[in-house]
Symmetry: C3
Subunit: 136 residues, 3 copies
């Protein structure tokens, strides 16, 4: 069986944001066994699974991604939507825009330190639409 | 229920290619609700979801990936298959080789600007085999 | 139908390790058609699908990832868990921590040269817990 919910995450500033609770609040009761699939319907942000405890990790991920794909590359053609736009597309390909997560005993079955990140690569990306599918 | 189709994408030159239509033409009618899973059965190309409108984005993604993993790294051991080969393996790990996409009302449920990319990292990779699974 | 198995991979040193056989040995008989989903329940390692033949590819992937995310970045805040820790979180976001793989005729349906990698980004990460879901 496949259930679907669509919703938006509140706008966030550029950076890596822990959104496990914001997402779970939008979902119906999870099944005993299954999978949760999440897709963010945009091309300049991403979803990832990483450290849910120390906010310094999110800061440092911003450092790494900004250094991996610097703004103002003179070889870029796609420059009309702002200096942060083309790097955002590239970062989105690097992190990916979807997650598939196991469900066990009515809960997400993640590691102790794993949380869901919205990776906002634009300076201000606005609300971000998510499609969630629950398979059981 | 799980349906499967296997097919090949036509050979492409090095770069990021929008293949949404080429893939959809190979699939049977999609179910009302479900998921589409795609895997490319190769280790030197990838699949990604990104901008479907401005071809400049695809050009610039090529710039970013070529700068992230330069050819001719003197620390490489795996050099017998050509200068473009080992960077292609690394780029394939960075983008990934599979996508899972939501299906709603008999259609892919993607963002307005999202399209499926074949990321061809070899100078000429030949036809690329895809396994598509449709879950409903 | 969804079946689940949880198990641990044996500890590995820093690097990219081919673990297809180690994982398959932990799984029950696969169904005729379906999908296998794997999640590694940690934030400083990853899972990827790449070359299963030449070990030089695994060596060179280590070179690429170590150059992409160097240790000792003076902008890092998260430094208390060792020099290899923060780069490991970033590499984990780059490769991802899960794989979804097609099953056809009771076997994984991968390309000839594709194998499953555990990407161990810590100098010594200890055993790594995996959740495997089999959908049919």
């Amino acid at each position: 069986m496949v259930k679907q919910v669509e919703f938006s995450l509140r706008p966030k500033t550029r950076g890596f944001h822990l959104v496990t609770d914001e997402i779970m609040a939008q979902l119906p009761e999870l099944p005993q066994q299954g999978l949760l699939h999440l897709l963010v319907k945009h091309t300049s942000c991403g979803l990832a699974l990483n450290e849910n405890y120390d906010p310094d990790v999110r800061h440092d991920l911003g450092v790494v991604f900004n250094e991996l794909v610097p703004e103002g590359n003179p070889s870029f053609f796609h420059t009309l939507e702002g200096r942060d736009d083309m790097p955002s597309h590239a970062k989105s390909v690097l992190s990916g825009v979807s997650l598939t997560l196991p469900i066990t005993n009515f809960r997400l079955n993640l590691g102790t330190w794993q949380g869901i990140y919205l990776c906002e690569y634009r300076d201000s990306g606005g609300p971000r639409k998510i499609v969630a599918k629950i398979l059981s």
